[in-house]
Amino acid sequence: MTEEVVYQSPLMYRILRDDAGLVIEVVVGGIAMSTVRVRLSAEQALAYERDGSGFSDQLANAIMASPRSYQ
């Protein structure tokens, strides 16, 4: 599956596009950092296309604050 980086944020997350749509990869954790990947729903993908990093920053912050909810 090919993967393209659509956007990379200094907040340490990326929006990726693969064959199935958009994925957000977020660096989570404090003194030990790892990543969580979440596929964007059609609605979220639309919101990203519309609002850009304004939307993805919010989503990334929500994932950082509660990674388990998205795993």
């Binding site: 907040l11 340490m12 990326r14 660096v27 954790g29 404090g30 003194i31 030990a32 950092m33 790892s34």
Partner: protein
């Protein structure tokens, strides 16, 4: 006449004696002069005796404890955090848990490559227009946990997780351990607060990998928020 002369001599002698004697006792008072050599006090007054302090064996390399160079905004956040944590504070935290002013943190290899190497990052951590925010622990704590987990060429994620009070999943696969000497970087440090980027909110008392205010992870490891930790001044160790 023979009697008169000796008598006069005695009288004259006594008279002279009476005038000169009082002066003599004064001389002994001059021993005060030798007191002048109190000049040796001067070296005591000079601050020089303080300089030899570095030679004192009990504090050879003890770095100065400092919260670094914080801008106005970070200083304000830090003051509010200290007020909330009182009588604890960032300085007390540094003195107790970071006496060598060295901090470390861990990253999985993939995000290290993606977010530090490939971006040629200037600072570690999550950045916005106010700075780059990084959670860090005492180097001695991270180092001890890593050493405990490494056997041969690889580490045991479960052992590392247990040592740091975090889930083993956080440590699976190759890792990087970063170390920064805060004395050298002068980075601003303070107690982490709920609003910091990357804060993982606790959802229950049983959570052990989330943020709790006060300077310690929910797993009990001391932590600090480092603002603008320069990549160029950090040492990076690969852990397989």
């Amino acid at each position: 006449m023979n009697r008169i002369v000796p008598t006069l001599t005695i009288i004259i002698s006594l008279a002279l004696g009476c005038t000169s004697e009082p002066a003599q006792p004064a001389k002994p008072a001059q021993p005060a002069e030798p007191v002048k050599p109190v000049e040796p006090v001067e070296p005591v007054e000079s601050v020089e005796p303080v300089e030899p302090a570095p030679d004192q064996p009990d504090q050879p390399d003890k770095p100065k404890i400092s919260t670094g160079e914080c801008d106005e905004q970070q200083a304000k956040i830090s003051a509010q955090a200290d007020e909330r944590a009182a009588p604890w504070s960032a300085l007390a935290h540094l003195e107790k848990n970071f006496p060598d002013m060295k901090v470390s943190w861990l990253m999985k290899e993939a995000p290290f490559q993606t977010y530090v190497v490939e971006t040629n990052a200037t600072n570690f951590g999550r950045c916005n227009d106010t700075g780059c925010y990084l959670f860090a622990a005492p180097t001695s704590v991270i180092e001890a946990a890593v050493e405990k987990s490494v056997t041969g060429e690889t580490h045991d994620a479960a052992v590392l997780g247990q040592a740091l009070g975090l889930p083993a999943a956080n440590f699976e696969g190759p890792l990087r351990m970063m170390t920064l000497d805060l004395s050298a970087s002068g980075s601003c440090v303070r107690l982490p607060v709920d609003e910091d980027p990357g804060v993982w909110k606790c959802e229950s008392e049983a959570d052990t990998d989330c943020f709790k205010f006060g300077g310690y992870t929910s797993g009990g490891v001391p932590e600090l928020m480092v603002i603008n930790a320069p990549v160029a001044l950090a040492t990076v160790r690969a852990i397989q």
